[in-house]
């Protein structure tokens, strides 16, 4: 077994320094529910692990500029227990709740869910439809990156050497807004998405959709944000005609693989079916959120 060095720096600047200076493969460690498992299964052999949980404020969840800031090390359980966040972004909570068991969520973070870059990651589609920005810190300074631009292909991200996500920013929520996420899995719990869909809507007083974002998970190498799906909903009351258009646009956007969890055909059709259900749920929530 190669040498492994473990560091738990007390500041972001030190974390960046360690990552920049790393000679072999380096990994950021937050919840460890992917990193430790991949080490255990000999899928990765890092030379350096940088645990970010000792950096002050990395686990914070705070209200900011009418929205929220979620620290990179906040666990899934901490997110699910945050009442104001649950009320504002129930679709994100739908996704986070599906990440593994209670004991896994006690450690797992949405940051790891994103950076592990699995196309089936449950928290990613609703973060994408929320318009979340990842605050990236690295040797060349800081930048805000839309979450959909972080994963580039399965297991790969756009983060450069020495860069890490410090937190996420969720925007302020206009009233009459609602979001939802659902996935299809053969089992109810403890499974990995075969298809996942997130929808985020804003309505006017009459219930007409004025803004929409729709994201698809597990049907392409990365989570897809699909403007054609949004266009099917905008200007409608999310009626049957709009839902039919949405389903067609969602199915058309899929570029799925065949694997043990589902065939291409199943995923394409399932995405359309699920998109309808999720849009209806998001619509109900937006109506209730006046």
């Amino acid at each position: 077994m190669p040498d492994l060095r473990f560091e738990a720096p007390g500041s972001l600047a030190d974390a960046v320094k360690l990552l920049v200076a790393a000679e072999g493969p380096a990994r950021v460690l937050a919840g460890g529910t992917d990193v430790v498992v991949q080490m255990e299964m000999d899928m990765i052999e890092p030379a350096l692990l940088v645990d970010i949980k000792r950096i002050p404020d990395m686990g914070r969840i705070v209200q900011e500029e009418g929205g929220f800031r979620i620290g990179a090390a906040a666990s899934g359980m901490e997110i699910c227990e945050h009442e104001a966040l649950c009320a504002a972004w129930p679709g994100i909570i739908d996704g986070v709740k599906l990440i593994g068991s209670v004991q896994v969520k006690g450690r797992a973070t949405i940051t790891g869910n994103l950076c592990n870059a699995s196309p089936g990651a449950d928290s990613v589609p609703p973060m994408v439809t929320a318009g979340a920005l990842a605050h990236v810190v690295g040797p060349n300074g800081e930048r805000d990156v839309p979450v959909e631009q972080i994963p580039t292909s399965p297991g790969k991200t756009s983060l450069g050497k020495g860069e890490l996500i410090e937190s996420f920013k969720l925007p302020a929520r206009p009233k009459n807004s609602g979001d939802a996420y659902m996935r299809f899995t053969p089992r109810t719990e403890m499974d990995i998405a075969v298809v996942g869909v997130a929808v985020n809507l804003t309505l006017d007083e009459a219930g007409v959709c004025t803004a929409a974002r729709v994201a698809l998970g597990a049907v392409a190498p990365t989570v897809l944000l699909v403007p054609e799906c949004a266009d099917a909903l905008i200007g409608t009351k999310v009626d049957d005609a709009a839902l039919a258009k949405l389903a067609a646009a969602a199915s058309a956007a899929c570029q799925p693989i065949d694997d043990k969890r589902g065939t291409k055909e199943f995923r394409i059709e399932g995405t359309g079916v699920l998109a309808r259900r999720v849009a209806q749920k998001a619509y109900e929530r937006a109506r209730a959120n006046a």
Binding site: L4, F6, A8, G32, T33, V36, V37, K53, M190
Partner: protein
């Protein structure tokens, strides 16, 4: 060989220290270094829940925590559940109501169930089933486990 890390942690209120390689997990520390073998290893990949412990008050798979991460943390395991020789209501109900057969899943299930009942003794069957979804049992078919947890909740509510 990787450098060894000095780890000091509290387990069930007692302080422990050990030297651990960074690939070692908290589960390895508990079982192999501290000889607290009540916590079990089923899968070592976060799937079965047999290794469930509390870390700083949070239900956690100890197989997913690296030893150096445990530095300064407060851990509670199955060994701390009975107090002064008195079984916890959960343990008592598991015995009375056949909540176990081979018993390998039992410590993890007891720790996980206690984490739920401590904050919600009146959790209903659905909540208990979802809460324990990460604890696999090869033997019982789960039903007796769920009944025993519900009965323990009843008793804890009354207490």
């Amino acid at each position: 060989m990787s450098k060894k890390y000095h780890v000091s942690l509290t387990v069930n209120g007692d302080e422990y220290e050990c030297l651990a390689e960074p690939q070692m997990t908290l589960l390895d520390v508990l079982r192999d270094e501290l000889k607290l073998t009540g916590t079990k290893e089923g899968c070592a990949t976060g799937d079965c829940g047999a290794c469930s412990v509390m870390v700083d008050g949070r239900l956690t798979c100890s197989c997913l925590v690296l030893a150096p991460e445990a530095e300064g943390r407060s851990v509670e395991t199955i060994e701390g559940m009975a107090k002064d020789g008195e079984l916890h209501p959960l343990q008592q109900k598991f015995l009375e109501m056949n909540g176990l057969q081979c018993g390998i899943c039992t410590p993890g299930i007891l720790v996980a169930a206690k984490a739920l009942l401590d904050r919600k003794p009146d959790a209903d069957e659905m909540e208990i089933r979802y809460w324990l979804a990460g604890n696999l049992c090869r033997c019982t078919g789960y039903d007796k486990i769920i009944r025993a947890v519900m009965a323990a909740g009843e008793e804890m509510k009354g207490a």
